[in-house]
């Protein structure tokens, strides 16, 4: 019976072929570490955010006079409304933790390098879209930090040359953040996740064309690949279990960790909160913004701090494949860069007084310097390593590079 149904479908839609190609026969390097679990986790969090979000939207009122109250109704009166809301608010932070680890893995192992440039770039677009969704979602509780945070961030668009004021007005739908802003942010906050889901499909199609990178950076031979299912489905399953234990601990025992105390006060245009800070996941970029004394310059720096990731496939000029494993200088650069981001994040949360501003400027300089010295460092490191590594290994590297180039020219893998 089941076979009959499947063959009926298969005559009309390549169901079995897709399952074979994408799962049961999809070749995956057998040496992937647990750092490769985070892409799947990001997909899981996205689904959870969409599901909890849909149910929250059934009770939420996107109206400036009702939004805060409707959230309290969800928290108090809706059956398991508190669970929906805490899953969603904790999920937002979890999403960024997972995505940032996913990106850090990509940087560490050089997974962005040829032939995976498009995979990396679609990831960048995903990151920007998720950031936009998170920013708009944060306005919806209509608390003090929602309101003032949205005011400060939309204000940044005023730095756009010539049409700044018009852009800000267009974003807010009013001269100040208000009901019009809330309604359009709600509409877009509902729309964006579905765009993100669509982009995830593109990200995955791209992944399945170039296949996963692996810790060695060397393209594996066929015998070293294993089918995604059941090997990586079972590994992802276990990773998901560990993730859910940590995630649910926060949801059930410390959900207020990710909700600013100030945001439990309803939005009040007449009272500015003492210290306006964005959510933690924006803090490093916020610190970069504040480090440039000029508003336009700050905004440009902040945008560039995100966009510059796109040049990495070209900035990295090493011929040694992969990332940090065989490249000690690259490894040091990576860890300094991550440390710098943590410093920026810390500074972003502080009031801009005393040492905070000059230190932020130094950290910002180091952030950008990393991108600009990478072409030189990677080339020098390459020369240095080639003089020292065994010929056998270098030959294998060159084979990998040739293969990557071949894939670049569009040869089917």
């Amino acid at each position: 019976m089941a076979k009959g149904i499947i063959s009926w479908i298969d005559r009309r839609f390549p169901l079995t072929a897709i399952i074979k190609h994408e799962l049961t026969e999809y070749p995956t390097p057998r040496n992937l570490s647990y750092w490769w679990n985070f892409g799947f986790l990001a997909g899981f969090v996205l689904v959870l955010q969409i599901l909890t979000g849909i149910f929250l939207a059934m009770h939420y009122k996107p109206d400036a006079s009702m939004a805060f109250d409707s959230l309290q109704t969800i928290m108090r009166d809706v059956n398991y409304g508190w669970l929906l809301r805490y899953l969603h608010s904790t999920g937002a932070s979890a999403f960024f933790i997972v995505i940032y680890v996913h990106m850090a893995r990509t940087l560490y192992y050089g997974s962005y390098r040829a032939p995976r440039e498009l995979l990396w770039w679609t990831g960048q677009v995903l990151l920007l879209s998720i950031m936009a969704s998170a920013f708009m979602g944060y306005l919806l509780p209509w608390g003090q930090m929602s309101y003032w945070g949205a005011g400060v961030i939309t204000n940044l668009f005023g730095a756009t040359p010539f049409i700044g004021e018009a852009v800000v007005l267009w974003l807010r739908g009013d001269f100040a953040v208000g009901d019009a802003t809330l309604t359009r942010f709600f509409a877009l906050h509902y729309l964006f996740p579905f765009l993100v889901a669509g982009m995830v499909v593109i990200h995955l199609v791209s992944l399945h064309t170039v296949k996963s990178s692996n810790p060695s950076g060397i393209n594996l031979e066929d015998k070293d690949n294993i089918p995604f299912h059941p090997y990586y489905t079972s590994k992802d399953g276990f990773g998901l279990g560990v993730y859910l234990i940590i995630f649910c601990w926060f949801v059930f025992f410390a959900p207020n960790t990710f909700i600013e105390a100030v945001n439990n006060n309803p939005a009040n245009p007449l009272v500015t909160p003492p210290h306006i800070v964005p959510e933690w996941y924006f803090l490093p970029f916020y610190a970069i913004l504040r480090s440039i004394p000029d508003l336009l310059g700050g905004v440009v720096a902040m945008v560039m701090s995100l966009l510059l990731f796109a040049v990495l496939p070209f900035a990295d000029r090493s011929t040694i494949p992969g990332g940090a494993r065989y490249r000690p200088i690259y490894r040091v650069t990576f860890f300094l860069f991550i440390a710098d981001i943590f410093v920026l994040g810390y500074l972003g949360a502080q009031a801009p007084t005393g040492y905070v501003v000059p230190m932020g400027q130094v950290a910002t300089f180091l952030y950008f310097a990393t991108f600009f010295i990478l072409p030189i460092v990677s080339k020098r490191e390459d020369k240095w390593l080639r003089a020292r590594l065994p010929q056998e290994l270098l030959a294998q590297f060159d084979r990998t590079n040739a293969l990557a180039k071949g894939q670049n020219k569009g040869d089917a893998p």
Partner: protein
């Protein structure tokens, strides 16, 4: 506009830093019905003179387990589904204080430091040299020292007021998040289930991956 915001940021962040100098006392919040009932008693007899608790209905107090007679005496002729109101009309409040006293439903979660802030604030009152009421955490506070901590003479009297402040804090913590106990109880089951599931998933993963070693 942006300059104004920046200026406001600077001024206010400075004052926030200044007030952080006063260390918050740590409070052990209670969750038993007796403590919450005592807290509710104090809040309704003292705080609702000026403050409302608009997200808490009298019915919620019944659900919490407070005796019906007591809740009935608090609500008077109001139906059980009424939100706990402030006894002071907004007009009178604005006349007397210059602003409407904030709603207390979420107060225990609405300040940095949360329960500790609330507890320390209630006990932070003192009498200034010129005989006025001041508060260590809230310079220029308009609210009077309702628990009377500034006037406490003996250690016993002080301990009594601290106890009262603790009950009020406990009740307002409940009011800010009435499902907390239910949430934590469910949390133990959820985490327990997940740990079991994760162990099984790990075993399954090991079993599947062991095939690779055999060939």
């Amino acid at each position: 506009m942006s300059r104004l915001i920046a200026l406001a940021l600077c001024c206010l962040s400075y004052s926030a830093w200044a007030s952080e100098e006063h260390k918050l006392a740590k409070v052990q919040v209670r969750t038993d019905v007796q403590s919450l009932e005592r807290g509710a008693e104090t809040v309704i007899s003292m705080c609702t003179g000026c403050h409302s608790l608009k997200y808490i209905k009298y019915r919620d107090l019944l659900k919490l387990g407070i005796a019906k007679e007591k809740v009935n005496s608090w609500r008077g002729s109001n139906p059980p589904g009424t939100s706990i109101p402030s006894q002071m009309s907004p007009e009178v409040a604005v006349k007397g204080f210059g602003s409407i006293p904030p709603d207390l439903s979420l107060m225990a979660q609405a300040r940095d430091g949360r329960a500790n802030y609330l507890y320390s604030y209630l006990l932070g009152f003192y009498v200034t040299p010129d005989g006025k009421s001041g508060n260590h955490l809230f310079p220029g506070v308009k609210m009077p020292d309702v628990l009377g901590i500034a006037g406490a003479r003996t250690p016993e009297e002080r301990a009594q007021i601290e106890e009262k402040a603790r009950d009020v804090t406990s009740f307002l913590m409940w009011a800010a998040d009435p499902h907390e106990q239910e949430r934590k109880k469910l949390g133990y089951y959820v985490i327990g289930y997940l740990v079991l599931l994760t162990v099984l998933l790990k075993l399954m993963k090991m079993r599947i991956w062991s095939r690779l070693r055999n060939n």
